[in-house]
């Protein structure tokens, strides 16, 4: 099992979620985050003072999947999240040792979906 974390442009979230659905990956957790990356982003301007804007709004999604779903997940995120502009974000894949469904107490691969 893998624990996939991806950082996205906020306005790509809808697209990514839809691509995931198309690949039957329904379960996702979403968090508002701020990111510092290569992208300098759209600089905000307040009373003519340009914000260095080092921290940009991003969205983080987390998805736990069985091995078979790793590739489709990455594909869905890459396709839905890509604009080709700097700042599109990253996908990180970590190993997941165990997964428990709180409601039933089920564990492992069956609990993940």
């Amino acid at each position: 099992m893998k624990y996939i974390v991806a950082i996205l442009q906020p306005d790509r979230l809808d697209e990514v979620l839809q691509r995931l659905t198309e690949k039957e990956i329904h379960l996702v957790t979403v968090t508002n985050v701020l990111g510092r990356g290569r992208q300098k982003g759209i600089a905000e301007v307040y009373r003519s003072h340009k914000e260095a804007g080092s921290l940009l709004k991003k969205v983080k999604i987390e998805i736990a999947v069985n091995e078979a779903f790793v590739k489709p997940t990455i594909e869905a995120i890459t396709e839905g999240g890509r604009t080709g502009q700097i700042g599109d974000g990253k996908i990180f894949v970590l190993s997941l040792d165990e997964c428990i469904r709180i409601r039933t107490g089920e564990t492992g691969g069956v609990a993940i979906g």
């Binding site: 906020p10 701020l34 759209i42 905000e44 301007v45 709004k57």
Partner: protein, 455 residues
């Protein structure tokens, strides 16, 4: 750096000159003003109580737009577009104020030309002094009447924002607003309220702006929703109001401010003002209550967005009737507004599929239309001898007159708004591109964010 400085200097100079420029016309009309002022001291007609009421009413009507309406609308959009809505409201306030001083007031209330439009004789408020103008309000300074009317000219285009929110580019919006105020609002205002205006002469009743303000803005709203098309993802992938407490706050301020709008339209602090104040409040309360009952019936739970929407619908519907009906009539008008606007927002919009983002048409257009008709039903001379009796008081004819006035407004607003939108679209393009709409107008149009995330 040097280049910037030169630009600054040049520009500063230019604008300063521009700032000084107005003095010349000022010199021009100095005589007029002086004459007017000379006439003031003896004028026994300025009543301090009436003036106090009209001034505070003007302040209240401004409060309806900023911060009232802007909060109401701002809370309903998504986080990434809230500033764009607030900016549009604020810009309209600034822009239309200047337009009104320069030519708007003159077009609307200036010396009549064939019942169709005011002349430009009062350009730059020439001759609009501190003595009362008995044609419009005999007991308050003419400028007080002018500024009260200005606040109406401001809020009307601001109402339209609700339809095209979250997807219109800012500069075309500015141009459209200026054109619309000049070619739609000002003529209509003249027709209905200007001395000599042809709808006024028809005998149609519109105490505080049901046709001029609400039907007019509502129809323009519908047109812009259709011309601009739906927002990306509408209707299934929209997120809900980003800050409902803002909207509730805005609704509260709208309610409070509306007393200036309706009771201020009595143009004095008298029995009629008190009556308008009371029926405004009663119809609003009843409409809020009615919407909650509709919510209860259709969704099992009264909602807070529902009750505030109902209240606004009630405020809209009572507006034309506010100088002509009894408190019990107001209950009827309010209940009708609650039912009809509910149905239009919940079913009609879904049915026809236009994206009237914040229901500017559903509430102001439909509610305004209902108000015009309802005035024809419940109006009674017992409240206002200068008014007329309606259907329930034995005069079915009034309903027809009201209907006629409403329909003229609908047609005129529809046609001209459509033409103006199309023209601006052709020249500048009305709609943000997809990418910018996704990012949100705050950042893409104004380079600002409403909220920070960290401390």
């Amino acid at each position: 750096m040097k280049r910037v400085m030169t630009r600054v200097a040049g520009l500063g100079l230019a604008i300063l000159l521009l700032g000084i420029l107005p003095v010349f016309p000022a010199h021009g009309d100095e005589v007029a003003v002086e004459a007017a002022v000379a006439a003031v001291p003896p004028a026994p007609t300025v009543d301090t109580g009436d003036t106090s009421w009209l001034l505070i009413s003007s302040a209240l009507v401004l409060m309806m737009t900023i911060p009232g309406l802007s909060l109401f609308y701002g809370g309903l959009v998504r986080k990434k577009n809230v500033l764009s809505v607030l900016m549009q409201c604020f810009m309209i306030t600034c822009l239309i104020s200047v337009q009104w001083v320069l030519w708007g007031y003159s077009l609307s209330f200036g010396p009549d030309i064939k019942g169709l439009i005011g002349s430009l004789d009062w350009f730059g408020l020439k001759g609009v002094g501190l003595e009362p103008n008995a044609d419009y309000a005999a007991t308050v300074p003419h400028q007080a009447f002018m500024i009260f009317q200005m606040m109406f000219a401001i809020i009307t285009p601001a109402l339209i924002i609700g339809a095209f929110a979250e997807r219109m580019k800012f500069m075309p919006f500015v141009v459209f607003t200026l054109l619309w105020a000049t070619f739609v609002y000002d003529p209509l205002c003249h027709w209905v309220w200007g001395v000599g205006g042809f709808i006024r002469k028809m005998g149609a009743l519109d105490f505080a702006g049901g046709t001029v303000v609400h039907i007019n803005a509502g129809i323009a709203a519908l047109v812009s929703a259709l011309v601009l098309g739906k927002r990306l993802g509408y209707p299934h992938k929209m997120s809900p109001p980003h800050n409902l407490p803002f909207s509730i706050m805005g609704a509260g301020l709208l309610w409070v401010g509306w007393f200036g709008f309706n009771a201020g339209s009595a143009l004095g602090a008298n029995g009629l003002a008190a009556s308008a104040f009371v029926v405004t409040h009663v119809a609003t309360a009843m409409a809020g209550l009615t919407w909650s009952i509709m919510d209860l019936i259709f969704n099992k739970r009264p909602t807070v967005l529902g009750i505030i929407s109902g209240a606004v619908a009630g405020l809209v519907a009572i507006t034309p009737a506010s100088g002509f009906v009894t408190p019990l009539g107001a209950l009827g008008i309010g209940a009708g507004a609650g039912v009809i606007c509910y149905l239009s927002v919940a079913f009609m919009k879904a049915r026809f599929g236009y994206d009237d983002a914040l229901d500017a048409f559903g509430v102001h257009g439909v509610g305004g239309f209902w108000g015009a008709i309802a005035t024809g039903l419940w109006a009674t001379k017992s409240v206002n001898a200068a008014g007329a009796d309606g259907l329930f008081y034995g005069n079915p004819g009034l309903v027809l007159i009201q209907l006629k006035a409403a329909l003229i407004t609908v047609v005129y607003s529809l046609v001209v708004s459509f033409v103006l939108l199309k023209v601006v679209d052709l020249v500048m393009g009305l709609r943000t591109d997809e990418q910018e709409e996704r990012i949100g107008l705050d950042l893409s149009e104004h380079r600002e964010a409403a909220y920070t995330m960290l401390d």
